[in-house]
Symmetry: C2
Subunit: 457 residues, 2 copies
Amino acid sequence: MKKFIVPILVACSLPAFAVAQEGDSATLRKLADEVLTHSTAYENLRVLTKQIGGRLAGSPQMPKAEQWGVKALKAAGADTVYLQECMVPHWVRGAKEEARIISKRRDFIPPLNILALGNSVGSGPDGVTAEVLEVASFDELEAKKDQVKGKIVFYNHRFIPTNIKTFHSYGEAVMYRGQGASRAAKYGAVAVIVRSMSHGANNFPHTGAMRYDSAYPLIPAVAIGLEDADRLSLRIKDDTDAKVFLRTNCEMKKDTIGYNVIGELRGSKYPDQYITVGGHLDSWDVAEGAHDDGAGCVQSIEVLRSFKAQGIRPAHTLRVVLFANEENGTRGGTQYAAVAKARNEKHIFALESDAGGFTPRGFSTTVPAAMKAKIVSWKPLFEPYGINDFEEPGGGTDVGQLNAAIGTPMAELYPDSQRYFDIHHAANDVFEAVNKRELELGAFGMAGLIYLVDLNF
Amino acid sequence: MKKFIVPILVACSLPAFAVAQEGDSATLRKLADEVLTHSTAYENLRVLTKQIGGRLAGSPQMPKAEQWGVKALKAAGADTVYLQECMVPHWVRGAKEEARIISKRRDFIPPLNILALGNSVGSGPDGVTAEVLEVASFDELEAKKDQVKGKIVFYNHRFIPTNIKTFHSYGEAVMYRGQGASRAAKYGAVAVIVRSMSHGANNFPHTGAMRYDSAYPLIPAVAIGLEDADRLSLRIKDDTDAKVFLRTNCEMKKDTIGYNVIGELRGSKYPDQYITVGGHLDSWDVAEGAHDDGAGCVQSIEVLRSFKAQGIRPAHTLRVVLFANEENGTRGGTQYAAVAKARNEKHIFALESDAGGFTPRGFSTTVPAAMKAKIVSWKPLFEPYGINDFEEPGGGTDVGQLNAAIGTPMAELYPDSQRYFDIHHAANDVFEAVNKRELELGAFGMAGLIYLVDLNF
């Protein structure tokens, strides 16, 4: 029976579809060839990472990055390039942090490799010295709450290795970084050390945003490298009198001014309707912000450049947005959404790339059912490029603000995630960790999706 | 109409399938969890690459690598581990090669970054100094055959950037490395320089096997890094009197003895029927042979280890084979196939991993139609692991010998190929270029495929 049904299905459903998709298939191939042959994404990334470097909101690097963005968008062929002002947090790390195990034993103990978490208060010049209470979870913290007072709480929660998509492990673990300090301060902890959000095979500590619950004292929070987390855990089990000394020099200053950098390609039919594609310009200070999120910025610019190079004028206005501040405040996306709402702008779709410049595997989406069905119907168009995972729910942090404010359908490029948490928010997120072709294939995938959304909605 | 047909299809074709696949799905999940949690592949690779290093057939490293293989297979739980002798070529690079542009101009010209191609003759102690004739193809060589005499022919054929699967670009370009010397010697060339088989963004030269046609003089052949290929090309267009000096010290010695390292897990039902899984133990001398093919070796060992750890006893005997010599002779695979044929062994299936330890995307196959259909029917089982490309024709070089000799169905793990030709046969094919999780996911994919083949054939 199956043998009969399959041809019928093909006969009655494919032809119209096939005709429509044949032209799209050719356009996607042209976009792929354009990007893989003439992309400026990799060279743009080299300049951003190597000549400017890490660029936290409020840092001296940020104005340079904004100027880089303006120049790159103009070079890509944007009709209009402008800055959109917003207030951004201004957190500074200060002098290098330090931590070590203090023991009555006389053996040599190497220092602990730590990084203050973003938005954390500093320890003060004398640092903090205290015994360490290790917990693997908030449940364990609650069970041991009577032992917390005066201690440094050490969240030694391991990344789940068996998730195939590593973002699922991140999603499960990141609350210890985000909420760990206040949850421990509630019971009298004097500082927290958080096992890095990674399953990497090295000892880089991974920073990242934390936030305080103002109901409790603000205590210093640091990330620790995985090898040192294991070493610390072993040591305090064996050497029960051991303490840890840590000193951080970070500080939250007053909010300052930052800018979303925006480039537009004016729509031919609906110039007042927008499709947004973007990444965030800011990055943590400890590396070059190459994958996170220089990659997303240069890929977004490449969408516009490849459209121009291939003579594709979108029906709706394409807006490339390099968001001012994602890492420790999401102020760039919030401002962009607030302005869109205040102006009553019509936004068709928003696409973000903020999951690394790795081989693209698909797109995560938060879109209405009809749009989802349409996007899934494009799977055969993307299949030749190895892009075939359209099932993940999601969308980016920055475009998420637009979705929240005015309901804009949103998506995020979903790259292969195996290497992301090796480098995420760590000193090894550098240009050399980005592969040119992987970056370009991601840019192509984004261009292809934007092309199809523009044509069909 | 479509709405009616789809439920019918589901209703009449899925249930039996679903029941059969439910158990398989659970077993694959167990294998994935085992590998991602307890794999020894990455640590095995560290020892092979960092403690032994590059290991060309006949090199002093090779006996150490064989002993490593025996130990690793025993530790993984093989019932039997043994060596299978074969004759292997013994090519040595000798002292470091050198090349430079010789110009009448007085400007400083940095040396050219080259590597002798494997199996090439050396230049002799005085080296070769000659004008350079650049060609982009054999067609251009033929058109310019009258200009070749006394020259160094420079094959400056570029990798096609628009192929999504980079092996297709390699397949198109590798003939210049393999045949270029003799094709040029036919017309009187004194040496050849071959643009490296890569689209990498660096200047590493990529070596690899070449072979001579004995009808023509044996002339030295070298690979040149991509940046230096571009530089040389520009220079000789502008500085038409320029020559190149190159000196290589390589030499083909007499064949010597090598060994395939074999570990078996005895089959419970058909102990005299074999399923082979393997990679090649040899590697080029210029790096650590991490992706090529340490990865394939440790993944193959991991298949056996994960079966043992999960209590899976295969019906057929599982043979893990670390082939003695793939890079410059395929003598390991040839010998394995010759012995199998001579003993009239029954081989059900052979799987190779020799395309790098990157995120697995699928399997290339050369199998009968019925087996192909069965393998494709397993796609839903592999989909949760991002493994979904089963359409590529292929199979590995080593297991290809078994296929050629006795028709054994074969497959090769097909990983994401974007980074492979950045490091292939070059100095940067080192342990640090391998990601632990990507390596493990590949090993899991292999274990899953072997499990299903063993169960169904």
